[in-house]
Subunit: 143 residues, 2 copies
DNA sequence: ATTCTAAATGAAAATCATTTTCATTTACTA
DNA sequence: TAGTAAATGAAAATGATTTTCATTTAGAAT
């Protein structure tokens, strides 16, 4: 996984630095969505010589290459998640603990067509997120 | 419209100040989505003795009461729009000029049920935004 | 009408995430 | 192995939002 991304980076003319490796490893190893600060904290343990700025810059690149994707947190902060090879997907976010579950199959093509027809917009993309309470937080809440 | 909101504010125990009236009038008079700074600027013309902080605070209240709703801008800034009485609606946002068009009828109930079944989440709400290019920006772009 | 009090306000400072700057270092090409 | 453009880190800048706190005020109570 990391190897795949590294190859892609090189092919696109980006240099592969220890910082970028560390950041990548953190993202790949985690199944959660992480804020830049989270990633910094973890990567820093592995490779001390790394700055938060570099994390931001690397995340920008990875995002641009479509290797990670941004999650809109409710408070406006951003966080990132590794893009699954399945491409087009959306998030189901727990409003309590922040856990993120991916899903695909949004079936919004029909709606998109309708909107184009009715408004004249040329639709480029969409953002779909469900907010809810995950099973373990439901359990915790009922205690 | 403004009157309706003012009544609601009073009923909920909020005081009706000239600042709040000015902010309300700005929001009701505008069909666009406005950032807190936009609202401040306009309200300030009408009622000079108003601060940006008060705008933020008032927007928080109006949002909490469901009278306005937040729009996720792509750059992470927020902006607000009067909630139409039609309730549940979503946005179609022009990536070029930022124009926002509301729409209803998202038909996500089916998907929501599927997600609940598959993940055990208790879905509370969802966020759906389409990003695209509005007719006038399309025209401008082809010039 | 006047008094009273909790709520609301504004100015300034604090926060906090993110971006920019710039001098230094480094990955990779030739 | 040397040369160069890209990458880095530290610090400063930015910009939106929030907090603090002393002062004012809306609206209830008298």
């Amino acid at each position: 996984m990391v190897r795949r991304v590294i190859t892609l980076l090189r092919r696109r003319g980006y240099k592969v630095t220890p910082q970028r490796r560390a950041i990548l490893r953190v993202i790949v190893d985690s199944q959660e969505h992480l804020t830049p600060a989270d990633i910094y904290e973890r990567a820093h343990k592995e490779y001390t010589g790394i700055g938060l700025v570099t994390v931001y810059r690397t995340l920008d690149i990875l995002d641009k290459l479509g290797l990670i994707c941004e999650v809109h947190a409710e408070d406006g902060r951003r966080s990132y998640l590794l893009t699954r090879p399945s491409e087009h997907h959306h998030h189901l976010i727990c409003s309590d603990c922040g856990k993120v579950v991916d899903f695909t199959g949004c079936r919004l093509g029909e709606l998109e067509k309708r909107l184009s027809r009715e408004t004249g917009f040329e639709v480029e993309s969409h953002l779909l997120e469900f907010i809810g309470c995950c099973p373990s937080c439901q359990k915790a809440a009922s205690t």
